[in-house]
Assembly symmetry: C2
Homo-oligomer: 128 residues x 2
């Protein structure tokens, strides 16, 4: 049975919050066992927990804010546009990405694919 829309929405909101301001454990708690991560799309798929942990470990120390801009749900699939701002001293690195996820019956993430390229990152003076 597909998870409810509310459960999928909660996982997506918690995911963006976790990558922005949470720990690697917060992020990993949203993933199902055996999940895969392809970020960005076209690069090798991370298939083990160790690989996924290492990937999110790169983001954990950064000072970030973020939020979901638009979320579309189709049964146990979701696609969403989100915005992530990394605060680097007097510069902000602004990134907008579309993620596609699949979910198990408990709304845990079974796969994540992130659509973006360098063109989707912009550096701006902090606070703008």
């Amino acid at each position: 049975m597909a998870p409810s829309r509310e459960a999928v929405r909660a996982t997506v909101e918690n995911y963006v919050k976790a990558i922005a301001t949470g720990t690697v454990d917060d992020v990993l708690a949203l993933y199902a066992e055996g999940a895969t991560v392809e970020d960005p799309v076209g690069t090798p798929v991370r298939t083990t927990e160790a690989e996924i942990r290492e990937f999110y470990g790169m983001v954990e120390p950064l000072t970030q804010t973020g939020g979901v801009v638009t979320l579309k749900i189709a049964q146990n699939n979701a696609a969403f546009l989100f915005r992530l701002v990394t605060h680097l001293g007097d510069q902000d690195l602004v990134m907008e990405v579309i993620d596609v996820m699949t979910f198990d019956d408990d709304a845990k993430i079974t796969s994540m694919r992130a659509f973006w390229s360098e063109e989707d990152m912009q550096s701006t003076p902090a606070g703008e």
Copy 2:
């Protein structure tokens, strides 16, 4: 070799234009031979030209306007949010969808998956 970003962007822009105001032939011309269409995600995949032609044939007679809101490209993959307004007398049916596409070397569409559900359709008085 992956198609250029400019070529992918042109196909996506032409696609949204074609479904809004073009003919089925305009849409089909953007697809590669053997392409697949899953719209919405979770429903049976259309795999033959006849099935794809029938699908877009349902949209062709409608009076619509549309545009790409946000496009993310990752090599020969793209995900984009677009807006389609169907004009039905004194009502407009507004729909926002995230499509995911893959492309061949000529930037023809090899697959399309559309993420949306009924919650993403809204009826409003015309012109608002």
